[in-house]
Symmetry: C2
Subunit: 253 residues, 2 copies
């Protein structure tokens, strides 16, 4: 199974600590990785068909502090589609003058929706097909970028369609908010004042966020399996869609 | 003025030598750079709002041999739009299940076409607007990916429209071919057997391509100003559109 990592913050934040823990899991997920950083409306996508443990691109992510308010990362264990750049998540499309970034963990068996709109897969994965379908249906449902609340309601209706074909854990961001949908496994936490120490599960690395953040900083981290030992990760329920904006879970959305 | 660099090869080739010469010109063009590499149908886009001389992303391009058959690079001197990631070339869109990469050098004054289709600019540049318009019109002209010859004929008709609003030097690639249009300044050459020595104009670097290439390798390099002293660069005529496939100029297209 692949692994997902998302970050939504109220101020541009780097993801070096979380990515280090995340990349450690790449040993069994050696079929490429990708990470998308929003910088304003622009998006920076770093991808490699190599394992995140050995890739020079992943090395750059660990070493250079790229600051972003919305990040989506994915480590791939190929289930459908060859190991090529075109099949590597996250995928990016433009809709309503904004970029949309999507990464999927799961396996959608025989989900072959009619794609009659402006979004077509370039690669061969079930994941990109589901993303193109989501974009096509969003484009039908709204004439321009809706509010986060409205978009969440639309997504909640749409996700059940591919969800009926298998496991559909995904993350989606347009740079304004981050949506995370759980079929089988997903967790989140919010780091905010007062900050505490956090130790990575898989590596001997501890960070004191109080030294790196101001009391106004707030960041939500969403991940397949909890990254740290000493923080209170909240599990998603199967079928749950959570939306994060300004570093917090948007309640009631 | 910005600078453009394109490469089209018959076998995956790295661009380290040409990019080194190209990045040297970044001193006066410090408003960001970007480079897109096709790997099969997939595309890897490396961009930075920093100068290509100092950017860690450019450093990675100079050091890691990324092999590609189609490369489009751009060094930016901002004329329209702020210096942000969203305004940094090349731009990427998907059409007919293929990625399209576009970079522009020039200034289109008051080109504000009606964009009623599926392509909208995310940033604020005249360049991205022109690209969205080109994609919209291509989508109208063909139902799916046409042949290179057909696409060239359509592009030749379309380019005169934005071209009437100012200078429209651009490069476009879908990973199968590379189109280069000249308004004011563009040159190309084809490197093939028997290979010779080439020395960069702006740096004290010489490369012996015979040591790096087999006799079957062929690569076309297209650039705003010639990169080397000892090779026969062919200037484009104003208004000329050239198309390159398998490392050669496609004559009669």
């Amino acid at each position: 199974m692949c692994q997902l990592l998302g970050m939504n913050a109220n101020t541009p934040t780097d993801v070096m600590f979380s990515f280090t823990g995340f990349a450690t899991r790449a040993e069994e997920h050696r079929d490429g990785f990708g990470i998308a950083f929003f910088e304003g409306a622009g998006v920076r996508l770093l991808v490699d068909a190599q394992s995140a443990r050995t890739s020079p691109v992943a090395e750059m992510v660990r070493r250079f502090p790229i600051h972003s308010q919305n990040i989506v990362a994915h480590i791939r264990k190929a289930t459908q589609g060859r190991v090529t750049l075109a099949n590597t998540h996250p995928f990016v499309r433009e809709l309503w003058g904004r970029y949309w970034v999507f990464a999927h963990n799961g396996d959608l068996k025989d989900f072959t929706p009619r794609l009659h709109g402006a979004f077509r897969p370039v690669g061969e994965t079930d994941s990109e097909r589901a993303f193109c379908w989501l974009m096509q249906e969003l484009a039908k449902a709204h004439a321009s970028v809706p509010t986060i609340i409205e978009l969440t309601a639309t997504l909640r209706e749409l996700t059940s369609v591919p969800g009926a074909f298998g496991s559909f854990n995904f993350m989606l961001s347009n740079g304004q908010a981050l949506w995370a949908h759980c079929s089988t496994q997903l967790h989140h936490l919010v780091r905010q004042h007062p900050f505490a120490l956090a130790s990575l599960h898989d590596e001997d690395v501890t960070v004191d966020f109080a030294q790196h953040a101001t009391e106004h900083d707030r960041v939500a981290v969403i991940v397949t399996e909890p990254l740290t030992r000493d923080e209170a990760w909240v599990a998603f329920a199967p079928g749950e869609l959570r939306v994060f904006a300004d570093g917090a879970l948007l309640a009631g959305a």
